[in-house]
Point group: C4
Chain length 368, copies 4
């Protein structure tokens, strides 16, 4: 895989403090094993927005997955279906939302943004409805692009800045080049190509960037709420106040997210932002979380603090880059087995049993 694509997925904004903080917050929280509670049989399935998922891990939306493996989005969605969990398509996918919908029987969520052209927002929502998507994920923390300096250094911008160094970097990855030989000729943002168009990614990029409405506000959220009667999820909240407003507007779910540390460097770790949001939401919407979820134990920790499920972003891309659908399946299987082991070691039989007493409370330490 060319370095520029690796960095696109691996990197964060500026100093990558938030990126590191996401993971450190999980590291610092401690689980309390309670092996004698007895949990021979463990059931990690959860019901989310009316669908039963086999595990509390959902594939989050990641743009340009099609650069990691031919037909990357469909591969990923098929792996999610096989694993019995949900898949969320990125608005910036290579394939179209209609093609993806036909490729998987899994619960599928569609990511949308608020566009300057309100007609386009409406159109995209209606396409998602027609294609049978189960939930709509309105991402609100990316209207303005974060300062991802690795991407700038690599010329991985929209449109891409190619120079001798980045071209040479690509050329040396012969395995990736051979695998992607067909795709590279027509990689594009599928959802933004009008029927019959053959525009390539570099030509579309400018148009796409200008699509997003920088003056997005709560009235736009209300508008989408009216357009879409099904489960509506707001992705990218860290503020309890904004979470409270979302609940008031009838939002069904919230993803506590800092966009994987890729937007505002200096934003808090999602695990630290989670508890006040859980408190304010008070059960009136499903609170999900992403950012730094690298292990099954991390999922259990997020659930112990009140999340209903976690989204993952980078992990499935690494699986996809290594071996396509099988790689994503392997990644999901690792999470499932790790969650199962943690539940067993903590004496937890079902997701409903996970709570604050699953954690070791430092406050109760009586050391000097």
């Amino acid at each position: 895989m060319p370095r520029s694509i690796f960095d696109f997925a691996d990197g964060g904004a500026e100093e990558e403090y938030t990126l590191q903080r996401n993971e450190r917050a999980f590291e610092e929280l401690e689980l309390l094993p309670q092996p004698l509670r007895g949990a021979a049989m463990r059931d990690q399935s959860v019901t989310l927005f009316g669908k039963r998922l086999s595990m509390p891990v959902v594939i989050g939306p990641t743009g340009l997955s099609g650069l990691f493996w031919p037909d990357g989005e469909c591969c990923t969605a098929r792996a999610a279906a096989a694993a019995g969990t949900a898949f969320c398509l990125s608005h910036g996918s290579v394939c179209t939302l209609e093609k993806l919908a036909g490729a998987t029987a899994a619960p599928k969520w569609m990511q949308v943004f608020i566009y300057t052209d309100k007609g386009f927002t409406r159109e995209l929502v209606q396409r998602a409805a027609s294609a049978g998507y189960d939930a709509l994920v309105l991402t609100v923390d990316n209207q303005l692009l974060g300062n991802r300096e690795r991407d700038k250094r690599n010329g991985f911008s929209i449109p891409p800045r190619l120079n001798a160094s980045t071209l040479a970097g690509m050329a040396s990855k012969t395995g990736w080049l051979w695998r992607m030989r067909k795709e590279l000729r027509h990689i594009t943002f599928g959802n933004y190509v009008k029927a019959g168009e053959t525009a390539r990614i570099s030509e579309l990029a400018g148009r796409m960037a200008s699509l997003l409405d920088p003056s997005m506000s709560w009235s736009d959220v209300e508008a989408v709420r009216k357009l879409w009667p099904g489960p509506l999820i707001l992705k990218g909240l860290l503020s309890p106040q904004e979470a409270a407003t979302a609940v008031k507007l009838g939002i069904d779910g919230i993803v506590v997210s800092n966009h994987g540390g890729r937007q505002l460097d200096g934003a808090p770790a999602t695990l630290e932002a989670l508890p006040p949001i859980v408190d304010v939401v008070a059960g009136n919407a499903a609170v999900l979380l992403d950012g730094g979820v690298r292990r099954g134990a991390d999922v259990v920790k997020a659930l112990a603090l009140g999340a209903k499920a976690c989204l993952i972003g980078r992990p499935q891309l690494w699986g996809l880059a290594v071996s396509g659908e099988a790689g994503v399946a392997h990644v999901l299987d690792l999470y499932r087995r790790e969650i199962d082991r943690v539940m067993g070691l903590c004496g937890i039989s079902s997701i409903a049993e996970i709570g604050r007493d699953t954690l070791f409370h430092k406050a109760s330490r009586s050391a000097p």
Copy 2:
């Protein structure tokens, strides 16, 4: 020693956070020297389950010690006997519990698990009683194997996965190979071989793993309590609630343990989990601790927070691997001399004098 065996003893689960945390917790706790209290003569002996031990350090159960030195378990037990302390045999020992019992006059403890076949549990407990073991150690935190990724990488699984790399790793350790030339032909889990069997380790491994009862619960503990009238120790508790239940069921001892960071990565340091357990047990059982006890000062710190003694796991294996019985004797001697020196520098004459005032209380710092 082949890397795979080194890693088997040295490693922990997943990111090895708990492994590191065990040691860091000791590092962060501070001792208060009080040289003028006067402690020319120091007595570090303790009475544990009715036996007088010359020091508050006991050899904890470690599986497959026989891979570190020929007849490793007996060597270790003899060193413990010579040092005047107790030895706990692992259920996963290479030699049989009967053979070990004949090899040492030291107080000896036998580790057991809860097996699916309750008859086998009963049988093992009765064998321990017949062989004259002084105490039974029921390990409860390992019914489900931790995610030890070093072992996975090394193919050190049950059964072992041998490949060119691991075989080459072994072949290069000519000293170890020569020393173990006889053992390697018939290394097995001694306690699991029926009389007359000649089964080898790889064949037994599957059987052994399937022996452990994943639905272990308090009723199993009660059953063992009925089978074994002598001192019964629960090993692997970190939760005060579970410690309280153990006391109610008449357990004689508790080992606060996270299995050396080898089971649930993310579990708290044992030294941090100790005080709330000491509080809840309130003297109704002996509280022991293992995990990260690398120095005599660590033993004194654990005792200052309420432990009666510490178990060690890795240190004696390193001693064993270097020079057999003499190596273990040297390790125990280091602990004894370090404990003695710490007691002297803190003005402590006997174990009974160790308490909270042996520690420097940060809370009393009046710095700004």
Copy 3:
């Protein structure tokens, strides 16, 4: 650039703890994104001492900028003017304050010290008035030179100690030597040369060091206050008590500063010293800050804790050293764009909206 000049700008006093602490304090403070507040249009202009600046970042006074680029002070001031912000000339500039005044239309501030010769203080203040400077910056934390061990090691003292090693270091920087070929013949402290003098820097250095009055006290501040009717800014306060006195004496502005970690190693981070000073000043003077301001996000954090604007010191020198005026312009542009992006991601339309609720309050975390 010769190592000695790089270190002169890059280094701090002694162990450079304060230097590191400045940056770490920013790293540890977290911002709270609130994307749905809606901030399509962002205005980062501020009014400071009656002048409208296009951004809350001002060029702070840095001695010997003329060593970084030919005519370095004028280049920097022109870049500030083009960017619409203020420039503060160092008393230790290479060019004279009169020459600088003619080179820029930007708001310009002049740095002065308290001199043993009160007549010289008066003279310098009057020259600043005559030349049309907008504000006077009285630096109070440098009467005694900090212990900058890098400079000592490099012989970068006043007068310079040249030896084979430092001369060789200079000689190897051919680009810098060629660029500075004219300047090197007559580099001097412009403001300290009397008309017609041709004294060189090494000859002037001793005189300059002895100029500063080591017995500076509040009465000197009062005297300057009387001499200068315009905005008077005290630079180098960290103590709330001293800030309170400054306000009582009618000072218009305070720069919370530890001289970039170059004076007292062990002084607190400026970001940590800021809040108590903001409290005590209570709006009766403009509180500014410098030290460790490396990103637009840092500026926003300082403003969230009550600063009106930040001064930068090292960043513009690096820009200057790379490409003169264009380099400084680029540095200011980076700050502007980063501030704009942070405001957008936090849903902030104007500087007045930045406040305590722009920060993520750890206190409100309800994690265990």
Copy 4:
């Protein structure tokens, strides 16, 4: 200098946690510059046990200084005299206390221990009195030798264990060997050689180690108090309770010390142990401190927390090893100039002005 001698001075006990902690405690405490308080003239002299010292830094007792430079103890004492401060001779000095007394006009302190042979204690105290020593320093934290593993590794024990490696290490230091060519023939512990004896260090070592009384207690302190009417200083206390007892027995001074991290690894940093001791002593004895005092700023921090002066140990040995008396003089001069600069930057004119408000109080931070 041979590695074994370097390590003897540089090293600490076991993991060297306490050694590092000593320095880190100073690093973490922050000073508050107050430049406008006005301190043109600074006086850092202090009165200690009735003698005026030119600075609050005293040369602490370090054994075997004579291994670092020919006649090392006298060189050091002469440098202290020239600097106007006090010198404390180690009981384990190479030269005799009588010879040292004749070599310097500085205030001189003599270190003693509690010996098994009470007659020897009495004899040493009387010799100190006869030789005109000004104060007696009774070291109480070294009756039992700490576990200095660097020394063990280097064979730097009493008696020394010489092997090919350590001998080779010595032989390669030709400068040191040449300089010490005469001393090496008869280096000994001067204070322990009876008149006319020519015993060498290795022969005396066993005798010396066995001299110390492991059952030292408060009654021994009382006995010395009766023997010595002059200033009596207890060195090596970290416990407020023991400090309180010392005051009750009429001790004149206390050195808060962990023996430079060379005795009990795990002991608290002296700077953290200082405040509770200052509180309990309540002005009834002079509280001094050693351990980690590497800079003038460290001295000021210790004084701000209530110490009257600091002792140094390693720093003067490095000075001594580099250039004998001149090296020690240079080290003292560095401290003096650093203390002076810190006082100037903090606006402090005399030692009496140093107090809690010289520190930046983190508690008063109002950041979130």
